[in-house]
């Protein structure tokens, strides 16, 4: 019996280790190879270098003509800027919309409430490519020029759903009698919202906003359809680079994006745990 128990324990440990290895080894490899000096075959280690980072950031120009793939650092910087601009705007808009819808659906009982809820889930469930095409057709038909504006509007359609779901989850965990207590102690609806509901909701709102920001920074498929010809976001830029072969600079960009996401996600987790 003792052997079985330790065997079961051992295999559980092994399974857990394999599981995490499966998820994280590719990420670790990217990080390792981003420091690989071999410019031709990046799977073969030939020495440590930070050249790729330096190149991506524009501190160093090409070593050899062939290895140089970031044609212009300006383009990369422009793409990052576009992505940040879009993510900031969509986060702001989607957070305001998603939060207000969540509060309205939680607070007021009106005809079609359940229907609204389902409708809000839809954009998340819809395949990206379908949503992308639908948005493209819509924008072209309504004569709106494709560009930053259309990307922002398009991303808001599904990011609002994400914020809505995160904030709704937080709301449903809230104790309704707290609002009663507040009203009982003389606070009207607005004061109750300001002093009791909102402070408790804040971690949920921030969590939803961070999620929206990351998804917006990361979105390729939908953005690709509605970006038009003049605007390039960071994922689009990387995708374009990839089409000409996987080159070391991409590893460096990937690691930087990863670190950025990691910081945002940690911030989100920290905020959640602090307010619980």
């Amino acid at each position: 019996m003792k052997i079985f128990a330790s065997l079961a324990r051992g295999s559980l440990v092994a399974y857990t280790a394999l599981f995490f290895a499966f998820i994280y080894i590719p990420l670790v490899l990217i990080a390792v190879y981003s420091f690989n000096a071999n410019p031709i075959n990046m799977m073969t280690w030939s020495g440590f270098t930070t050249d790729w980072y330096a190149q991506v950031l524009g501190y160093k120009t090409a070593i050899t003509g062939d290895a140089f793939y970031v044609e212009s650092t300006d383009q990369l910087v422009q793409a990052v800027f576009n992505s940040l601009k879009i993510a900031a705007s969509t986060t702001l808009i989607a957070t305001v919309f998603g939060t207000s819808i969540a509060i309205a659906l939680y607070h007021f009982d009106f005809f079609g409430r359940r229907f609204y809820r389902v409708v809000l889930f839809m954009p998340m469930l819809m395949p990206d490519i379908v949503l992308g095409i639908a948005l493209l057709i819509f924008f072209v038909n309504s004569g709106i020029n494709l560009g930053l504006k259309t990307i922002i509007i398009g991303q808001c359609t599904f990011l609002t759903s994400y914020v809505f779901i995160v904030v709704s989850a937080r709301l449903s965990g809230m104790d309704r009698t707290l609002e009663h207590a507040s009203a009982d102690l003389g606070a009207n609806e607005w004061t109750t919202f300001r002093k009791v509901v909102f402070p408790q909701l804040l971690p949920g709102i921030l969590g939803g906003a961070l999620l929206a920001f990351i998804i917006s920074m990361d979105d390729l498929v939908i953005t690709y359809f509605i970006a038009g010809v003049d605007v390039t976001t960071l994922p689009m830029f990387i995708f374009a680079m990839l089409r000409r072969g996987i080159k070391p600079e991409i590893n460096a960009i990937a690691v930087m994006m990863l670190s950025f996401s990691f910081v945002i996600a940690s911030l989100g987790l920290y905020l959640r745990s602090r307010q619980k």
Partner: protein, 360 residues
């Protein structure tokens, strides 16, 4: 007679169940709560006591009828404009605020300055025995302490009326008894009326100036604890408050005879006709051999020792259940009946209460 602080007139409220039925939570209730009174609403769950409380605090809108507080019509006023505060069953403390902020909430909302507020928060916390804990968060307190914060928060704005919705039900027995006495003391100190909701009849009897026994959305009886216990107006009140032995039958002068032929002597000479006689378990005592006077012979099924008393569970020859409570100091006698499994129960006819049939 003291002036009334709350007056309800024909307050009615029905709820629809998901199955399509309607439940009468308040069936046209008239109620006067006196100034500086400790009134308890007592009843089983679903009797309408919480709805009645929420109608006063404003969280339940009446279908018809009206509510006056201190002479002012409150029927259409929102909860935040009523001079009433509530201690909620689950305390409902704001988790993101400190004890001090929780306690001072009503004052902050009313726009009272920081210094004044701090002074009154300290005073309120002192009254409930939590001085110096302003900086703690509710989750850092024990259940009993949270209860006290809820109390301090509800009394700080000096409401005309304090409503308490089963506030002690989550506390353990010893703490509950201590809090019962403290609440009573606090009510005297504050000099305001308390309306206390409970399903615990012991709690109701211990604390109240008057008790309203509710059932089916109606007040069955509104009286002092003693009157509720000694002279219940109907058999619902008699069985809900305390243990009871009820004998339905035909009353004549000094005697009531049940359908199964048991004769109960009673002291209420005037009563005749169909009625129910009530004998509380503690009114029975073990008869000495050859004792005259009213006697009830029972076969004992169980004898339970509960500390200060023995509880005897028996049946009459006709199979009617009888409960009697014998003081534990009469151990010797109990030893005898344990052997014989039979008891002769005697009682004082003047302690028997008759409930007229139309009320039962």
């Amino acid at each position: 007679m003291r002036e009334s602080i709350v007056r309800m007139e024909k307050a009615a409220k029905t709820f629809a169940t998901p199955e399509g039925q309607t439940i009468t939570a308040l069936g046209g209730i008239d109620l006067d709560v006196r100034r500086n009174e400790f009134l308890t609403l007592l009843g089983p769950s679903g009797c309408g006591k919480t709805t009645l409380l929420q109608a006063i605090s404003g969280f339940v809108e009446l279908d018809s009828g009206r509510i006056l507080i201190d002479g002012e019509d409150m029927t259409d006023r929102p909860p935040y404009r009523r001079p009433v505060n509530t201690v909620f069953q689950n305390y409902a403390l704001f988790p993101h605020m400190s004890v001090g902020e929780n306690t001072g909430y009503a004052l902050e909302v009313a726009g009272i300055g920081r210094q004044d507020r701090a002074r009154r928060v300290a005073e309120a916390l002192r009254m409930v025995g939590l001085e110096g804990l302003e900086g703690r968060k509710p989750r850092q307190l024990s259940g009993g302490q949270q209860q006290r914060v809820a109390l301090a928060r509800a009394i700080i704005a000096r409401p005309k009326l304090l409503l308490l919705d089963e506030p002690l039900s989550a506390l353990d027995k010893n703490l509950r008894q201590a809090m019962q006495i403290e609440l009573k003391t606090l009510q005297h100190e504050l000099g305001i009326s308390f309306i206390f909701v409970t399903h615990d009849q012991q709690e109701a009897l211990t604390m109240s100036d008057r008790v309203a026994v509710l059932s089916g959305g109606r007040i069955q009886q509104l009286d002092t604890p003693r009157a509720i216990y000694d002279k219940p107006r109907n058999s619902f009140v008699a069985t809900f408050v305390g243990a009871s032995n009820l004998f339905e039958g035909e009353a004549a002068a000094g005697r009531l005879v049940t359908t199964d032929g048991i004769a109960i002597s009673h002291g209420e000479q005037g009563s005749t006709g169909a009625a129910t006689a009530l004998i509380r378990p503690e009114q029975f005592f073990l008869a000495d051999p050859g004792q005259a006077g009213p006697i009830l012979d029972v076969d004992l099924e169980q004898i339970v020792f509960v500390g200060s008393t023995f509880e005897l569970f028996g049946r009459t020859a006709t199979g009617r259940r009888v409960i009697a409570e014998i003081p534990a100091m009469r151990r010797g006698l109990v030893g005898e009946i344990e052997q014989s499994r039979r008891a002769r129960l005697s009682y004082d006819p003047s302690a028997v209460h008759l409930i007229p049939a139309e009320a039962a």
